[in-house]
Amino acid sequence: MSETVNGFPTYETAWCPGCGDFAILAALKETLDGLGLAPHDVLVVGGIGQAAKTPQYIGANAFCGLHGRSLPPAVAAKLVNPKLTVIVDTGDGDSYGEGGNHFLHNIRRNVDITHFVHDNQIYGLTKGQASPTTAEGQVTAVQTHGSANQPMNPLLVALSLGCGFVARAYCADRPMLTRIMTAAIRHRGYALVDILQPCVSFNKVNTFPWYGQRVYPLEETHDATDREAAYRRASEWGDRIPLGIFYDVAKPTYPDHLALLRDGPPLVDVPPDPDALRARMESFL
């Protein structure tokens, strides 16, 4: 257990040996180090779940709030304290299940944060129920007859909402993961990286071999500014699962619309202004 803020140290994790989460944590640290960020400049936000414990294992500022509610505090923190590099790092259930409504609307809001989803296609911490990305027919302790719902393809949902950065990575391909993480953090605006992550304890379908046989990198020729191509390629899911940055286009972000944020100092630095208050009061005379 270390309390230094150098090098994004980790204290003992609560994850299962062999879990894909370790690789994601390692990649995230590598990415942050690679970007030359000081720990105090970074805020990592999670909800509740196994993946959502990640912020605890990074030496940066950490906010682990409520299950499903990682995006709202992250976005608000960024709006008022824009010097922070804000990263949401949490699970698929957290992001797309309980937190689905925030997922939808924060894509629309387009605040400059980065969203890493540990997509193990299962609820890990609560011991293996179906998540929104669990395959149709997959049997669990609750879905005793197999999941009856069509799995969500989060990339397609993000693209359908006009998300500016949409990528899929695989935790076992560290170099690509780190490269995508770096690009996502650099992207100005909301960026989604869905990270395929085997859960060795509860997901006996989407295992390391299962993914290993299927994943492949998008061709270099893929045009990440072509939304239709992005949509088409992101739809691929089955025997072949493409990895990479499907879409990456800069768009105006939320603060670009508001003079208050665009032109003023960060709100966290604004002192009280009694004169402005007096003027407002006088408008009631």
Binding site: A14, G65, P272
Partner: protein, 575 residues
């Protein structure tokens, strides 16, 4: 004939007929020429149609409560005549367009004046100024000046339409059917016209709030509207969230990141905020939440008033953590308490809940301007100890751990909704749990010193002590004045007039007990006055002090309390 102290003007019609503008113009004018005013709004949960009315009282001294009867009515439709003629004063006047078919009850009533309102309006340039014509006629009937109205109209309408309204006003004045005396004017200078929600918004601004996130919900939306209008001038980011869950979690995030942050809603939205209220409690992130109550359960009466959320908010969220619940008694109180809420939230790192209601939110009154010069914004960041900014939850004697802003070099601010140690790291240790629970709860001891005792109102020689909280204070003030007057009225020898006083609570949780226990000693009887069906405040009083209210005056029909209603029941016994 002596001039009256006060008069009540009622303007009624259906939604979309422009009553709200008309009322706003009227009350602004009355305020500016020097009256105290008090305007309540009775409106339905719809955008057009139905029956709505506004009642504006004005007079020579501060006003506190709506009145059942009116002295003058502007009826924009037949329903208004039907519904409000019965409560018109014997020497009152009712103005209605000549073309409106009157109900039978109005036949031959000399108080009803059918004037060519629409015709005159059309002649003045637009049939839509019908109400303004009536206003001109009314003001002239009361001998009130029209000067000063032009700039007010200009503030409400685009130039061309404002002009037509000025003509309509003049033309209306020429129609004045009678002459009645209005109250004498007093010194017109320096008072503001404000409602409870505007006062909350001003308070937030005064406290240096930089972030307000909310989801629209009547009757809380006007706080968001007011702040949204001041985004640039007040340097506050107002964000409409996708739902109330997002709204409060955003506010928690903004507060964590270093600014003062607030959210506001009504009961239904508050339900959705309950989990994150606990989050603020557990993370010890300061937070201000306004619950502007309306009658429930659930959707209930969206545009009406009640005090039905008290028990819910004092214990909302699972598990245990300190919180402060402050009920708002008047616009002036709402302003001051909002400023105080931000201070105490920061000082103790706790959530503070402001409890308002539709009556307070929508009632506009004239008041002296709020005192802004004495306001000190202290963020209470404290001094972190030698471990730098790492011990986010340092175990201190008073339970308050010095707080830091993320982004500060050398600092790591780690917060977690799991039980945690001093560094904010997840723990499962029984010792940590006990230490952290005690640390959190210990803050209540410090908070006790900052609690405000209730306001004592009325006759120091009371026999009967009323208990009230929040916006009920205002009608109680009115009731006490009425009862004090009735005290001197002749009675039978067996019935000596009882003397009344009241305690009006602002802080309701933790419940301040000192004043209550000492004032109780003198009371022959304790009467609970609140706007709900079960006497929620009386239950809290019993729980914390053991005192039992001998009687409860409860109103739960969605309409505001009035001094008349309270006084009648106190003197007359139960319904």
């Amino acid at each position: 004939m002596e001039r009256p102290d006060r008069l009540a003007i009622l303007i009624g019609g259906s939604a979309g007929q422009g009553m709200d503008s008309l009322t706003a113009v009227l009350e602004k004018h009355l305020q500016r020429i020097g009256y105290w005013t008090f305007t309540t709004r009775d409106y339905m949960s719809r955008v057009r149609g139905g029956h709505n009315f506004n009642q504006t009282l004005f007079g020579t001294s501060p006003l506190h409560s709506p009145s059942k009867g009116s002295d003058a009515v502007i009826a924009l439709d037949a329903a208004t005549v039907e519904l409000h003629l019965g409560d018109l004063a014997p020497d009152g006047l009712l103005l209605v367009d000549a073309a409106v078919a009157l109900p039978l009850s109005a036949a031959g009533d000399a108080r009803v004046h059918r004037l060519p309102l629409k015709e005159t309006a059309t002649a003045s340039g637009s049939p839509k100024t019908e109400g303004t014509v009536a206003l001109g006629a009314l003001l002239a009937s009361l001998g009130l000046p029209l000067e000063g109205l032009a700039p007010i109209l200009a503030g409400h309408f685009p130039p061309e339409i404002a002009e037509k309204n000025v003509s309509a006003l003049q033309a209306g004045a020429a129609l004045a059917p009678v002459h009645r005396d209005a109250p004498c004017c007093v010194d017109p200078k320096g008072r503001i016209l404000v409602n409870g929600n505007e006062a909350v918004a001003l308070g937030a601004l005064a406290a240096g709030c930089r972030f307000y996130s909310a989801y629209p919900m009547t009757p809380s939306t006007s706080i968001m509207n007011a702040l949204a209008g001041w985004m640039d001038s007040g340097r506050i980011l107002v964000e409409q969230a996708e739902d109330e869950i997002a709204a409060i979690n955003m506010a928690v995030g903004a507060s964590y990141a270093g600014v003062r942050a607030m959210t506001g809603t009504s009961g239904g939205g508050f339900c959705l905020m309950v989990e994150a209220l606990g989050l603020a409690g557990m993370l010890e992130v300061p937070l201000v939440v306004a619950d502007i109550q309306r009658p429930g359960p659930v959707t209930g009466f969206p545009t009406r008033t009640e005090q039905g959320d008290l028990r819910f908010v004092v214990s909302a969220s699972h598990g245990e953590f300190p919180r402060l619940v402050v009920s708002l008694r008047s616009p002036a109180d709402a302003f001051r308490q909002t400023v105080r809420a931000f201070d105490l939230a920061d000082r103790f790192r706790i959530p503070v809940i402001l409890l308002g209601d539709q009556f307070l939110a929508d009632t506009t009154v004239t008041v002296p301007p709020f005192d802004v010069d004495g306001i000190v914004v202290d963020r209470h960041f404290g001094t972190p100890d030698e471990t730098g900014g790492f011990r986010t939850y340092a175990l201190t004697e008073d339970g308050i751990s010095p707080r830091r802003v993320p982004g500060t070099p050398g600092v790591r601010v780690c917060v977690d909704s799991d039980e945690h140690d001093e560094y904010g790291r997840i723990t499962e240790s029984a010792e940590d749990r006990v230490a952290m629970t005690r640390k959190r709860m210990r803050k209540e001891e410090g908070l006790a010193a900052f609690l405000e005792e209730p306001e004592f109102l009325g006759d120091p020689d009371y026999d009967i002590l009323l208990l009230c909280w929040g916006s009920t204070r205002e009608p109680v003030v009115d009731a006490l004045a009425r009862l004090a007057r009735q005290k001197d009225a002749p009675r039978g020898p067996d019935a000596p007039a009882p003397r009344y006083a009241a305690l009006a609570f602002g802080d309701v949780w933790p419940l301040p007990q000192k004043e209550l226990l000492s004032r109780f000693a003198q009371a022959k009887s304790l009467v609970d006055v609140e706007q709900n069906a079960t006497g929620q405040f009386a239950a809290l009083v019993r729980e914390t002090t053991g005192l039992v209210c001998d009687r409860k005056l409860l109103k739960y029909d969605g309409r505001p309390l009035s001094g008349e209603w309270i006084a009648e029941r106190l003197e007359g016994g139960d319904e």
